[in-house]
Symmetry: C3
Subunit: 352 residues, 3 copies
């Protein structure tokens, strides 16, 4: 008797049910090895994540794992179930880091389907999921919404239910800070941290060019994307890519986010913690051989209720390809300027 196919074809739009919870495969223990690879892949220099001694001086039990490494691992698990048949990753919202992650912690992810809407063409639909990463004690470490355009198995079939969730334009300041323990007063050492500019030294509207550029190699983004156990085919298969629209492998969008964040140390060296991701758009694809530059704009500056140790700064982080950012490229006419890759809106915490 023929056996059922053992291979997972991924879900199509019709396979999602509003309100269902998907348990994603492959829990993952994050280790010092992952932290080293993250350093080697992007070169981040934030002292809190780099040094156990520095982190302990502030009140952490050890150096926490970089927030974006947590994001990539939690995100990677959703790919086989949510976006294997995705046409495009459309957006992120309401991303909140809820507890610090330390080497030795094990992360697992579940996603709830919170919205479904088919496209006017009827051959695809938008799936909204809230994904939650939890540690081995069941504590949520990250919660975020993303929406993706997913192909239908059978184009033309009508969707049963349509629902578009309401999503906040930005995380409210009072929801920030859960993943940052209270910092010991006076313990933060600006010299070791590498920046004299604290929360109070930045003003909304201020723009910072991060100056440096970083060229990406195929081996690098492949190592990164596999480290996150992200299985999206477009990142790995040059043979299949030859017949695709771009003719080559696409780089995982999160790789661009991590590169831009690491570059942003030059100008934002005390913005040590990503507390929330408000919104994000991958404006254009990045390919191996391209050089990434970045700049930031301060959108808001907010105190956190009841906290004197740290304050929040809402930042727009823009990454570009082969385009230095001294004049802060962003818009042209109705759209984005040529060369812009990423437009990310996030909250960072800085010492006060």
């Amino acid at each position: 008797m023929p056996q059922p196919s053992k291979t997972d074809p991924g879900r199509f739009f019709e396979d999602f049910r509003l309100g269902e919870t998907i348990v994603h495969a492959t829990p993952r223990t994050v280790t010092a090895g992952d932290v080293s690879l993250y350093t080697a892949l992007y070169g981040p220099r934030f002292a809190v994540q780099s040094s156990d001694a520095f982190a302990r001086s502030l009140g952490y039990p050890a150096a926490p794992v970089d927030d974006l490494l947590v994001f990539h691992i939690v995100f990677g698990k959703t790919v086989p179930d949510v976006s294997l048949n995705a046409v495009a990753n459309l957006g992120y919202a309401d991303g909140r880091f809820l507890a610090p992650v330390y080497p030795g912690d094990t992360l697992a992810t579940t996603s709830e389907v919170i919205g479904l809407k088919q496209t006017s063409g009827g051959d695809a639909g938008i799936v909204y999921v809230r994904s939650v990463g939890v540690n081995q004690r069941g504590e949520a470490v990250l919660s975020y919404v993303r929406w993706v355009l997913v192909r239908k198995r059978l184009p033309g079939t009508p969707a049963a239910i349509e629902h578009v969730p309401e999503l906040p334009k930005a995380v409210a300041p009072e929801a920030l800070g859960a993943a940052c323990p209270p910092l010991s007063a006076g313990a933060y050492d600006d010299s070791l941290a590498g920046s004299l500019f604290r929360w109070g030294d930045y003003e909304p509207g201020e723009r910072v060019d991060h100056v440096d550029g970083m060229t990406v190699e195929e081996a690098e983004h492949q190592l990164a994307t596999r480290l996150y156990q992200n299985t999206a085919k477009v990142h790995f298969d040059a043979h299949a890519a030859r017949g695709s629209r771009f003719g080559r492998r696409l780089i995982y969008g999160g790789h661009v986010i991590s590169l831009a964040r690491a570059l942003s140390f030059n100008g934002l060296g005390n913005a040590f913690h990503v507390a929330a991701i408000n919104a994000g758009r991958h404006v254009a694809p990045l390919f191996a051989g391209d050089t990434v530059y970045a700049w930031s704009e301060v959108l808001e500056r907010e105190a956190l209720p009841g906290r004197e140790d740290v304050g929040a700064m809402r930042l727009r982080l823009v990454a570009t390809r082969d385009l230095p950012c001294a004049d802060f490229p962003l818009r042209r006419d109705e759209g984005y300027a040529e060369g812009v890759l990423l437009d990310l809106d996030y909250w960072a915490l800085l010492p006060r």
Copy 2:
């Protein structure tokens, strides 16, 4: 007075003595860093090796190190003594994983020369070695036989003794499972593991296309092969390779095995443990820029004596280059089909 050369030229065929034991250099502590690199290099998603929490729920003290990472490290140590002057790696047999390896364990390898046979041309000979990897307590973790074609120092000299060992076509089922502790009944979580198909759901003769492709870069295979402290020149020296038969660096055959095994998760997600390697043939070389695909065939399915927790499945794992495997490429006429790289026969364990 001139000193004796301090450089190791490697052994030639005449240097091997039947029955001698070679102690290989450079014991190696395996760490969480090695595990992370292994994940980054191949993207494996088997939950047992990925998650301490998952492994502990089954009865392991922690997530064990991937079996093939153990194989590569144990194997790498043999290269300077056994195959530095090898013309070809001819085969493997009777490979058995005998104890789990955890981060922090230190591996060392010894090899016994169990067979010698010169070629009819008289300029080389086949050396058979049984290599045993042991941990810091002296417990064997892996034992396997391989045979390689090794150049003679002086072509034409007759060999003293010839002996070809008898080797099993496959490891017997009753010899399997030593590296897998008894799993807690009912603890194995299929959702977290990422596959609903257990031991009983596969049938001999069944074939599974693993669908995805993975392109290999020079930096990746070099990082991997150095991680295993494998010193075979052909993998690293592009300058010398320009004058060689292929004109470029060859990729370590074990890299192909690990890629194919990682790809096989899609279709064999519960085949979490490589218990034995019965035979293996590197049919053709792989080069950087090539894309590896894979498929598997179920050869046998056997219960393990006295164990209800896991069962064994004998699998043929075939890897190809730039050739998707929907129609299971393998043979053509007397030989292998164009594009086939690897034909590996191994035993995997799955939960029952």
Copy 3:
């Protein structure tokens, strides 16, 4: 009101004050992950650094971190403050490894400006710094002097003070060995170490060809240089490099040192510890795609006062590009032979 620029432009020659101490940013906890990456990047095979069990048998509490990995991390921290506007890295002197570093230790670096001398042209000057790496207990682990040619912000301005420090041509033997604990008598296992040649088996004047070649990829040197949090732009930005003198990214000179040192295992397998760096010159730049070879010359052999366990050997380590070293290439006419990349003078310790 416009804010002051938050971006660090790096120091120019005029910004250095004789006698000042610079606290460098980003303390760094060294982990097993860094050790694994170091192994993957260079393939070192010295047993002391590779195996906890081997190191413990000698009296170490665990396998120490490779000396050059310590050097690169300590060095990397100095780049943003010392050499971001450097024209050239001119030399090293008096480098001493003062305490072993183990995974879990946190390294930080300070530099004292010990010399300043402007060039005759007046548009740049030489800055001499003594950099000291300390661990989390404040113990110095490495001290070395380097001097770099740094651009002036305003060419033509006279320098206030000029001072050229006196530096030793080589570290004295009695200053060696602080980072090597007393080794247990008779415990050193030559077979596991991979070499039968001990301290007494080498003679001054002896030269050793390390035979093997290692080709470098862009991804590899970028991963390495970011791992060390070294921010020198020339290593990472292919877009900017297109308009530069070489038209492409330069490889961090320390990458060449580590490659040559790893290659030197073949012939110097018992030279397990770099005790001091006497001098070093990067003769020519290395680019991706080039293959590195190396050879060594024994310059001196010295006992260490009060120690019977280990002895010191002063070595010249020469690395070349696309040039095998069977005839020990070094000089031609007044300068270096074509293809020579590195001329390093260091002290290694070997068991007696």
